[in-house]
């Protein structure tokens, strides 16, 4: 005697959030049943394992049928096959597109290609996220990347509208798309301590300040309607202008003047003053060199590793506190305005604003 067929279909589609999560997490039906039993569903409700198995199978089938629709969430709202109340639709989409930070950290900045997909086995083993779940998350990244790649307009807004995601999730995806597009290096050992949320914050800063879209509409129009990919690619003109900052380290007078201005401002305000004074030229060279090299795609990729190597590591070895870093960078940025021969104030602010907030975010253990 065996159950040949067993289905339960509700007019309003019945979906258990707990089972949905297990499905998203890539549990097999049997594992899900086990997990649910351990979760105590049976204790709350007098039922046998058979009942649980039957329910889990039904739900899994439903989710599988829904998955096609979840790939283009707008369809979920006007499809006729499943009757799902709007708030449940929102839940389904939001959960489907949710991802594990540990997983995304692994693929951040990598090319979303078949090659990477092959590495998912290793990532799965490393992160403990099931392969099935890895695939779903990876495919989500790829799908969103592909859709927004062809769209004009602000990145976050595009993602939110096309995939009906919450603002937070849309911003995270914008970061992922941005990283994938610019292929930022995030996998080096030195960068391991930086979390996805740190990177997402930095991406937000870059998108909001360094891309074409960030400059504002008035500026865009003057620049030959270069609106395509305005949020995804860095503003090339701006990168060119960054080269002008080189004067800060090549002009010896300027460098000394800058140093003395910063040191005057810092004196007595921090215990790390001596180290700051000693390292000023090094650190300043580091930051300005990063700026001047950003026209090379290769150096863009190394942006974060450079930040860590050229600035964060030296500071850390000198045991600067986060407050020290903040203090230093604030004065470092502001003092440049007082330099009478330094003409590139606007570019400097645009550059340092982002660098400052990125370093603040990244400066932790």
């Amino acid at each position: 005697m065996a159950v040949e067929l067993d289905v339960f279909v509700g007019n309003t589609t019945i979906m258990d959030e707990e089972v949905y999560q297990l499905w998203l997490d890539g549990y097999t039906v049997n594992d899900a049943v086990r997990a649910r039993m351990e979760g105590g569903v049976l204790d709350e409700f007098d039922a046998t394992a058979d009942v649980l198995l039957s329910d889990t199978m039904d739900q899994y089938r439903t989710f599988q049928m829904c998955e096609r629709l979840l790939h283009s969430p707008a369809k979920l709202a006007n499809q006729l096959l499943f009757q799902i109340p709007p708030h449940r639709q929102t839940m389904l989409i939001e959960r489907y597109y949710a991802f594990d930070d540990v997983f995304v950290r692994e693929v951040l900045g990598k090319k979303l290609s078949k090659g990477t997909k092959k590495d998912l086995d290793d990532i799965s083993a490393k992160t403990g996220v099931t392969l099935k779940s890895c695939r779903r998350q990876f495919d989500n990244f790829k799908r969103i990347f592909k859709v927004v790649e062809e769209l004009k307009g602000p990145l976050v807004e595009n993602i939110r509208q096309h995939f009906l995601l919450s603002d937070k999730l849309a911003r995270d995806y914008a970061a992922i798309v941005f990283f994938a597009n610019n292929r930022f290096e995030t996998g080096k050992k030195k960068l391991q301590y930086i979390t996805f949320q740190d990177f997402a914050f930095c991406a937000g800063q870059l998108i909001n300040n360094w891309t074409v879209g960030a400059v504002g509409e008035g500026l865009c129009k003057t620049k030959n309607n270069m609106v395509e990919d305005m949020d995804v690619d860095l503003d090339k003109e701006f990168l060119q202008e960054l080269k002008e900052l080189k004067v800060l380290i090549t002009d010896k007078d300027l460098l000394d003047q800058h140093k003395s201005l910063v040191c005057t401002a810092l004196r007595g305000k921090t215990k790390a003053f001596n180290e700051m004074e000693a390292n000023f030229k090094n650190l300043s060279r580091g930051l300005v060199n990063i700026a001047t090299k950003l026209t090379n795609t290769k150096d863009v990729r190394d942006f974060f590793i450079d930040l860590v190597e050229k600035f964060i590591e030296p500071c850390r070895s000198d045991r600067w506190t986060a407050a020290d870093v903040k203090l230093y960078l604030t004065h470092y940025t502001n003092s440049a305005h007082i330099l009478d021969t330094f003409k590139h104030q606007v570019v400097w602010d645009r550059y340092m604003g982002v660098i400052k907030s990125c370093i603040f975010k990244m400066y932790h253990d």
Partner: protein, 1008 residues
């Protein structure tokens, strides 16, 4: 040229990719009606094409309008090869032919392909212009309204109930035609879908004609079924109750409709005032002369050997235990006498009614709930079965054989009813079970006496209102009183004086197929009671097989009945409502499943307990065993009493009813006995008064019975379940509903199964299904699973299939102990509720027999006036649904939606779909295949309802779900037939209720 059909194809969306190269589709649409076809332009390279076509106009006969569906085919244009079909939409335009139903069909329809399922959606507009006076065209019956609902629909009142209408049409099944060997499965499936659509259109038209002939304008309780007889053909048949309905004006409808959320378990009670007008038509139907005496039916007349015995179902035969008729009547129920003074009166009434009713060929009613006062007495369940051998239908135009078969069965039912002293059968239904060439035809209903006054007066006259109050029996217990003669009882029963009115006799148990009448007083809550049975039979062919089945049937009926009785007693209840017994035939077994809602009717005596008797009283071991079982049973009864809150009022004068002279009837396993018997005297039952049930455990059968009795688990806390529309004892429904369909198929691998083994498997299957439902719906507690409708089938030799469609409805737990007393004041808008307050009071005070309730309800309803215009306008505006997003369409097997009011019936939904796959594994096996098919069927029903402008389907049912699979070939095919009433319902808001109440009160005051 009586009609012009216009269709416009607007757009498509979510189309499948038909051109792999471009990942796009070049779609166009063919619109076909009858033999005329129109095409749209090709919309190149789009998955969301915008055709925005002109209006395609079809000039057609209204006969065709009724029969034919509008057929819309979406295709992919291909320059070099044949165009590929994407899928089809069939639109039944019947709802547009009725002025009171929908006026336009407009909306998104799923594009359906029998191989691929739903493939995108198409937006279509359909209109109909009818030119002439329709009544002049006798071949068509446009304008006759059809309702699946088995009660008088909301916002209508029955001016007349004309009676039974039936029709059947037969045809060759395209699947079995020679051409099927050379055409594709898709073509074959589509031919079948189209044929069945045509046949049901034709059937509906023919029934409509009969209704018009009778002078009616509507069919209520319309039940259409398909018999897939395989080689021998395809039968579509339908039964219904012809009525003349009149719509309330929109304002008054809102007043007279009960609020289902609060109304007690009836839905037929919505129009109490029209009781006086609810009259049987004088112009009597077709039947010429007196009905054929059933005994004279020549049992050997029809060409296939009729195994239905024309055994006279006399009183003796049904009461004796050895002489079981092959088509046994399950006449349970009231025994009895019409007391002293009531006796002659009753005879008189019967004579009066006979004049009108007996002239009818079949005084049958497919309704299951009735306006108050309609039902006078209920006799008990009558059923008839007959086994037939199918052979090819030679001439589809003259389906005489099938007609004759049903005629025979109906005659038998009629005679059973007569034997119970009843002149009518209510809650009537018919069904079949087919396996290869053997077919079991079944019919069942509830024998009843209907109000003679309605029949006698024929047409409404004003004076009749006053007469109603002279009615001898108070309305709330009258239906329990026995309709038959006490001295000449049709079967053994114990009679007692009614526990409510104390005047007339009632039986100890009452079985019915109808819903619990609104006025009935119930103690405690009800529950689902099921009897399940499997019987093996030898594989055989032809007549031998049919004979074997015929021989098994009576035993099965008998055992199902015994099980029901035992389970009823175990729950301390005394009546069954909504009883449905299904017997299904397979190659090597018969399955029987009886479902009903058990209740404790206050008017009936308290049920005795169950006594266990050992076979050999001397044996000490045995004695202990018996005592142990007895204790378990007693404990179970006590627990059930508590669970279902059955605390009947203690009656001091219990001995009032004189002992009824009755020969002691013994039955094989149980017997009812009225005297204390010697050998059982030591087993003192706490509940066992004079009428304990005795179970002798002298054979394995009985042991098995007891086990199955005790293994039925009660629903978990917070859940209730019933097979009727609503649960007796729960009145405060909230608006949450969840309709579901579940199908489970078991494969019996073990070839050496015994009857007991099979029974256990079958019982477990049903119990596990229920447990599954409870678990899945655990988040909706407190709730009640209503209308639990189980269908069993034996699709293949070792397969057992159970399909269930039911609805989970939430209710307010805090108030479920009793009907809230303040309800009458807060919701005075519904007079039925006022009336329903009385049964409770009466049951508490059994001495008073007050006819007042009906007086109140009539007077108040008489004067209710339509609401001001402004209000009805606001109702209309509230049903304009948001454009863009998909309309939520609620579905329920019940005739109402709690918390809402039905303001318009848009027409009947009757759809038939076939789905086939040749990639079963890829679709997730049979479960995956059926799961998506059921979801697709729901989606298509919802889309059609939404396109009609509706937002709900009531009285929904899945009549057929036939699944055939061949996993080895990776193939499966499934046929599903669903039906229901598309409606517009509006939410009852507090705002509306208060204004409603105020206005109602105002008008009543003003008028009186």
């Amino acid at each position: 040229m009586p009609g012009k059909l216009k269709a416009k194809i607007v757009a498509g969306r979510h189309l499948p990719v038909m051109d792999r190269a471009s990942d796009l589709t070049d779609a166009f649409v063919e619109v076909k009606f009858g033999n005329t076809t129109f095409k749209t332009d090709v919309c190149p390279k789009s998955l969301n094409p915008q055709w925005n076509s002109e209006w395609f106009k079809f000039e057609v006969d209204d006969e065709d309008l009724q029969d034919e569906p509008l057929q819309i085919t979406v295709l992919d244009h291909d320059t070099y090869s044949a165009n590929d079909a994407i899928g089809k939409v069939y639109i039944d335009i019947d709802p547009l032919l009725c002025t009171e139903a929908a006026s336009i069909i407009s909306g998104w329809f799923p594009i359906y392909d029998t191989i691929h399922g739903i493939r995108g959606e198409i937006n279509v507009l359909v209109k109909v212009e009818l030119f002439n006076d329709l009544n002049r065209f006798r071949q068509s019956s446009c304008g006759v309204k059809f309702f699946c609902t088995t009660s008088i629909p909301y916002s209508y009142r029955a001016v007349m109930v004309h009676g039974f209408v039936e029709e059947l049409v037969v045809n060759e099944d395209p699947e079995y035609q020679w051409i099927d060997r050379i055409r594709t499965p898709r073509a074959s499936n589509e031919a079948r879908q189209r044929l069945i659509s045509l046949m049901s259109g034709e059937l509906q038209r023919k029934i409509g004609l009969k209704v018009l002939e009778m002078g009616g304008n509507a069919v209520v309780g319309y039940l259409q079924c398909f018999d897939l007889e395989g080689e021998s053909g395809l039968v579509v048949r339908a039964i219904g109750t012809a009525c003349t309905l009149e719509k309330f004006s929109s304002g008054s409808a809102s007043i007279t409709c009960p609020h289902p959320s609060t109304a007690p378990p009836s839905n037929a009670c919505n129009s109490p005032k029209d009781g006086k007008e609810l009259v049987f038509g004088e112009e009597l139907p077709l039947s010429s002369g007196p009905p054929t005496p059933f005994r004279a039916l020549p049992s050997s007349s029809s060409s296939p050997p009729p195994f239905s015995p024309s055994k006279p179902c006399s009183r003796q035969s049904s009461s004796s235990d050895t002489d079981l008729s092959l088509t046994p009547k399950t006449g349970m129920g009231s025994g009895g006498s019409a007391g002293k003074e009531a006796g002659p009166l009753k005879t008189l009434l019967r004579q009066q009614t006979q004049t009108t009713l007996e002239q009818r060929e079949f005084p049958f009613f497919t309704l299951t709930s009735f306006p108050p006062g309609f039902l006078v007495h209920v006799g008990g369940v009558v059923s008839a079965r007959s086994v037939k051998l199918l052979d090819r239908i030679h001439n589809p135009d003259e389906p005489e054989t099938r007609d004759a078969w049903w005629e025979e069965i109906r005659q038998e039912i009629k005679s059973h009813a007569k034997a119970l002293g009843c002149h009518a059968v209510v809650g009537y239904s018919e069904n079949t079970s087919i396996c290869e060439e053997v077919c079991i035809l079944s019919a069942s209903g509830t024998a009843a006496i209907l109000n003679p006054r309605y029949m006698r007066e024929g047409c409404l006259d004003v004076g009749s209102i006053d007469h109603r109050f002279d009615d001898p029996s108070p309305p709330n217990c009258g239906f329990c009183h026995i309709p038959y003669d006490e001295l000449n009882m049709p079967f053994p029963a114990q009679l007692a004086y009614c526990y409510q009115c104390r005047r007339q006799k009632v039986p100890d148990v009452l079985f019915t197929t109808i819903d619990l009448p609104a006025e009935a007083a119930v103690t405690g809550k009800g529950c689902l009671i099921q009897a399940r049975l499997c019987r093996l039979k030898k594989k055989a062919q032809g007549e031998v097989n049919a004979t074997a089945i015929s021989n098994l049937l009576p035993f099965m009926e008998y055992e199902l009945h015994t099980q029901l009785m035992n389970k009823l007693k175990l729950r301390s209840m005394n009546a069954l409502f909504g009883l449905h017994i299904q017997i299904s035939v397979g190659e090597n077994m018969l399955l029987g499943l009886a479902s009903a809602t058990g209740v404790y009717l206050t008017a009936l005596p308290a049920p005795g307990g169950i006594q266990i008797a050992g076979k050999t009283p001397g044996d000490l071991n045995n004695e202990q065993h018996v005592a142990a079982i007895q204790k378990r049973i007693n404990d179970a009864i006590a627990k059930n009493k508590e669970l279902y809150q059955i605390n009947p009022p203690e009656l001091t004068d219990e001995g009032v009813g004189s002992p009824i002279p009755e020969p002691r009837q013994r039955s094989r396993i149980f017997r009812s006995h009225s005297e204390s018997s010697d050998e059982l005297s030591e087993l003192d039952l706490s509940h066992g008064k004079k009428d304990a049930f005795v179970l002798e455990i002298d054979d394995t059968d009985a042991v098995e019975d007891i086990h199955s009795l005790l293994t039925d688990a009660p629903p978990p806390a917070g859940f209730h379940s019933c097979s009727t529309e609503t649960m007796p004892g729960i009145y405060n429904w909230t608006s949450g509903i969840q309709m579901f369909t579940s199908v489970r198929v078991l494969r019996l691998n073990n070839t050496n199964l015994t009857n007991q083994g099979l029974n256990k498997i079958f019982t477990d299957l049903c119990e596990n299904l229920l447990k599954s439902f409870y678990f899945k719906l655990r988040s909706t507690v407190p709730c009640c699973l209503c209308h639990l409708n189980f269908t069993v089938a034996v699709p293949e030799e070792e397969l057992v299939q159970v399909s269930v469609t039911a609805v989970a409805m939430t209710f307010d737990k805090d108030q479920n102990q009793e009907k809230p007393p303040e309800k009458a004041t807060t919701k005075g808008g519904s007079e039925t509720e006022d009336q329903l307050q009385f049964p409770l009071e009466l049951s508490a005070d059994s001495s008073s027999t007050s006819p007042q309730p009906s007086k109140i309800s009539v007077s108040s309803l008489e004067h209710c006036s339509p609401l001001p215009e402004g209000r009805s306008r606001s109702l209309c505006s509230s049903r304009s649904f948001g454009v863009g997003s998909v309309t939520m369409v609620k579905m329920t097997p019940l005739s109402f939606l709690p918390g809402t009011r039905i303001i318009k019936y848009l027409g009947i939904i009757n759809m038939f779909f076939i789905r086939e796959t040749t990639s079963l594994r890829e679709e997730g096996g049979v479960s995956g295949f059926l799961h998506s098919f059921i979801a697709e069927v729901f989606a298509m029903v919802r889309a059609h309802v939404a396109a009609l402008g509706g937002n709900a389907v009531v009285s929904y049912s899945m009549k057929d779900c036939v699944l055939m699979e061949n996993p080895n070939k990776n193939q499966a095919q499934c046929l599903i037939n669903v039906s229901g009433d598309a409606v517009i319902c509006v939410r009852e808001t507090d705002q509306e209720q208060t204004t409603n109440t105020g206005q109602t009160c105002g008008t009543i005051d003003g008028a009186t």
